[in-house]
Symmetry: C2
């Protein structure tokens, strides 16, 4: 089996209300079984999930935290609104659990690649729903994975992970199956959607000009049903041994 | 840019002393700029990093921990010998920091895909050195990435990550560079080698029969020098905000 990953060329700057599915469909020869991997920023922008800093009135908690961290109070206010829980706030960085359950820097709120200065791009309100909507609008109903770049515990750097999924099995479960020599394998529970997100990131220009990548060769993980989505990838705090 | 990933077909079962580079070179049309991604188990086996459980005398600490967790004392003894620090030991799982600095389940010690029952496959003694040696033996001097499957904090499932690297930049640093519209981007420090490991895992059969995958299209990350290796990916405990 060969996997190929190629960026969709020539997408324009995305604005609120744009039909992202139509813009992608016009520039990519999509077929059933493909996996279309989309950096969340263009989804968020198309959905109008953008906040002007000038419109934000920071509350007391945001002001205190901003002073501690040396950050803009309005920006911290937006991060807090997007967070269910602040996991850590140190050295200018807020690590929080978003309303979706994702643990990441600044609740995924991002000032880069915003349409204009003074704007912040948020994560989509419901990235799994965004992925389903995008899938429904694409010819051939390829799977859709919406991604963000997350830092990790224990390791330097960020990798792209899946935050919204439609039509791709998030996890492949080999636990209890036999290996090539007939012995039961150790716990093997593969986060296929996160590996797909990472693979797609390798072909993207980091300046934000190539938000959409098509993966071909993952047909065996693509499902007719939209499936459980990226929610399935969220590990609850109580069962988390890796922190 | 298009990325392709394809497994090297027809590798035999690897045994201690096998010339892994020659076995791969005979089955893959390698060229400069390729990235050869190798599941660590075949590297460990070729290097003889295999322990017979029957040869292991568990110490007091291993016996106590094994009783607590419901595990085999000899297996726990091997895990402890491979660990610098036990991070957590609960619900039948030991999460530890290996001597290399990697945080993973059971210090990477694995009973699956061992050459015979009653044997454990360890991580290579020095996976960066293993990657360098493999690279030196491959035609065209492609980059080499040695991988293992690690669980993650906050997210379900495992993804393959780089534990040994030669000739690939482990991290790409875009921090402070400008985005497509001339604004400075947020901290963007991409773990390219981990994304390459994840991409390769997508094409591998999970029963252990396809340990080697060739990635093509990452030429811009491949370096003439072997470089700093996977050590560069290890995040020190003190600077880790993501736990």
């Amino acid at each position: 089996m060969t996997l190929t990953a190629a960026a969709v060329p020539g997408l324009p700057e995305i604005r609120a209300g744009d039909d992202l599915a139509a813009l992608v469909a016009a520039r990519a020869d999509l077929r059933a079984g493909d996996v279309v991997v989309v950096a969340h920023k263009v989804v968020s922008k198309a959905e109008g999930r953008v906040v002007r800093l000038a419109d934000v009135a920071p509350g007391d908690r945001a002001r205190r935290l901003a002073a501690e961290l040396g950050k803009d109070p309005a920006q911290v206010e937006v991060v807090l609104r997007e967070s269910d829980e602040v996991v850590r706030a140190e050295r200018g960085v807020i690590i929080s659990r978003t309303r979706h359950g994702f643990v990441c820097a600044n609740a995924g709120v991002d000032a880069s690649n915003a349409a204009a200065d003074g704007e912040l791009v948020l994560l989509p309100e419901d990235p799994d729903a965004s992925a389903r909507a995008l899938r429904a609008g694409l010819p051939g109903r390829p799977a859709v994975v919406i991604t963000d770049s997350f830092g990790r515990a224990w390791r330097h750097g960020q990798v792209d992970v899946a935050i919204g999924i439609a039509g791709l099995a998030p996890l492949e479960d080999w636990r209890g199956r036999d290996d090539a020599r007939g012995r039961t394998m150790r716990a093997t529970w593969i986060a296929v959607a996160d590996e797909a997100a990472a693979a797609a990131d390798l072909v993207r220009a980091k300046d934000g000009g190539q938000p959409v990548v098509v993966l071909r060769g993952l047909e065996r993980h693509v499902t007719a049903a939209d499936g459980p989505g990226a929610r399935e990838l969220v590990r609850g705090r109580a069962e988390d041994l890796f922190r």
